[in-house]
């Protein structure tokens, strides 16, 4: 435990201030209790976890809610950025769609924050440097990736919730994300709302079914927008 604590300190002291703000919450106590450092977990022999770098989101339904909260933070932050500084070649009508979608994602984000209360992770700071947000095409490519990811995330997480209330919420939000995904896809490429890259159509038994991704698969993508590494190891699944 002592050495892990040292790792925790080293992680925080060695990284730029901006990285720390991921865990900026009302108080440091809340942050440290809400965020379980993987290295402190009982499963620290698990080779999937990199004890010095990975943060976990908690366990059980709380962990899943933090997972959804992180995902909604990502989507909201993305749309916030697009709406604040839209690409010059994006028509006003499309910007109105993006404003709606931003508002929906902020609502989802705040839903999970409220649901989690003091168990909520802090506010994440995202790095969108890998995206091209100065062109309409770049914005649509990114939006499509994030919305399809959101749909697959909820489709994969539904079975992991214990409390039926949260399974119900996952359903209520998943279909709105799917509506977003369909619109974004259609605007990027007409009639691609449910193309074969997301809805299987290869002669398999799962034809006609949308994608479903595990928390680990989704977190791997989310991590590409973070300056820290979040681990899905503590989550169900």
């Amino acid at each position: 435990m002592d050495t892990k604590s040292t790792s925790f300190s080293r992680l925080f002291s060695a990284r730029p201030v901006r990285r720390r703000t991921f865990f900026r919450v009302a108080g440091a106590t809340a942050a440290s209790s809400a965020l379980v450092l993987a290295g402190c977990d009982k499963d620290d022999e698990n080779p999937e976890v990199s004890p010095e770098q990975a943060f976990t989101l908690g366990t059980g339904d709380t962990g899943l809610l933090n997972y959804a909260y992180l995902l909604e933070q990502l989507e909201a932050a993305f749309y916030d950025k697009v709406v604040a500084t839209p690409p010059a070649d994006m028509p006003a009508a499309e910007l109105a769609y993006f404003t709606d979608m931003r508002d929906h994602e902020v609502i989802h984000r705040e839903f999970f924050k409220f649901a989690l209360g003091t168990s909520a992770i802090g506010t994440a700071v995202f790095n969108f440097g890998s995206l091209t947000l100065t062109t309409r095409a770049g914005v649509f490519a990114a939006a499509q990736t994030l919305e399809d990811l959101g749909v697959a995330a909820y489709n994969g997480a539904g079975k992991l919730f214990t409390d039926p209330v949260y399974l119900g919420i996952a359903g209520k939000i998943a279909s709105v994300e799917a509506r977003h995904a369909a619109l974004v896809r259609d605007l990027a490429l007409p009639n691609s709302f449910a193309a074969a890259d997301v809805v299987a159509n290869d002669g398999s038994a799962l034809d006609g079914l949308d994608a479903a991704k595990s928390p680990a698969q989704v977190i791997a993508v989310v991590n590409t927008f973070l300056n820290i590494t979040v681990s899905a190891a503590s989550l169900p699944g």
Binding site: E110, G171, V176, N201
Partner: protein
């Protein structure tokens, strides 16, 4: 809830418990390929009846949900098949029915509905269930002429067709959403239902976008600002309750979106858009009955 410990304790008292649990699950084994983990996930409900003398209640509930889903898929599949002129004996649809560029999307949606039908039929049969009888459909809503039509020009007026399509797709999204809770004891079925549910939502959004492109005041998501297409006393159940702004977290705590500080962070007017609402099986069944006779 420490299911593992509870199970271990119970198994110590009653060594046949594991067997009874697994035999209950065996009904779904062909589709679930149930591993130990899935079986454990099914425990909270299965346990209740495994301890008691075996009852078929859980199985019937799951099959009820699957049957409802299949009837919905029969409805949607037949609807698009007729529009595409693929149903022998049905009134012919003029070649000019589809405006330029609109047919491919309807073909895509039709293909998905067919795939959903096949998936659900396979799942039900693999579970030892009997397929529901495919209803006779009348998409004008006249019950084969027994009453005045609600959508007399559904296959001659493309806008009417799209209105009915939107009605069916939005209803389908809500109906699946209303059933997922009943599938929580079977991880494979639950995930499959969610994966079909989101495809229906993609369809609904596309149909809505098609209508908007033709001048209708409708968003790609269900919004209180949409111009209503509901037929009072008939299809209004498709949208009743979608304007809900009260969402709840565990413990029935309401999220105070319309109060400070949340109302300073979120666009309160868009809360209803941000959540799609479920409908119960009874509502879904009565909506289906509008188009059957």
């Amino acid at each position: 809830m420490n299911i593992l410990k509870l199970l271990a304790d119970l198994a110590e008292v009653d060594p046949t418990l594991y067997d009874r649990l697994s035999s209950r699950q065996a009904a779904f084994a062909p589709l679930s390929k149930l591993g130990r983990k899935a079986a454990l996930a099914a425990l909270p409900v299965a346990l209740g009846t495994a301890i008691m003398p075996a009852q078929a209640r859980d199985i019937r509930t799951i099959l009820d949900s699957l049957n409802l889903a299949l009837v919905l898929e029969y409805l949607e599949s037949e609807f698009y098949a007729r529009a595409l002129g693929l149903v022998a004996g049905a009134p012919s649809v003029p070649a000019s029915f589809f405006p330029a560029g609109t047919r491919p999307a309807i073909e895509t949606i039709y293909r998905h509905e067919q795939q959903h039908v096949r998936f659900l039929e396979r799942v039900i049969q693999a579970s030892g269930g009997t397929l529901p009888t495919k209803p006779r459909f009348d998409f004008t809503g006249s019950k084969n002429g027994a009453q005045p039509a609600l959508f007399a020009d559904v296959f001659t007026n493309f806008d009417t067709f799209l209105q009915v399509a939107q009605t069916l797709e939005d209803a389908g999204v809500r109906a699946y959403k209303g059933q997922v809770g009943f599938l929580q004891t079977d991880n494979s079925l639950l995930e499959a239902a969610l994966r079909i549910h989101s495809v229906e939502a993609r369809h609904a959004a596309h149909i809505r976008s098609m209508r908007r492109a033709r001048g209708a005041n409708v968003k790609s998501w269900v919004s209180p600002t949409d111009t209503s297409i509901a037929v009072a006393g008939k299809t209004d159940a498709v949208y009743a309750g979608e304007g809900l702004v009260n969402q709840f977290v565990a413990g029935l705590r309401q999220v105070p979106f319309d109060q400070a500080p949340l109302n300073t962070v979120v666009a309160v007017a868009k809360v209803a858009e941000a959540f799609d609402e479920p409908i119960p099986a009874s509502t879904a069944t009565s909506l289906v009955s509008i188009f059957t006779y």
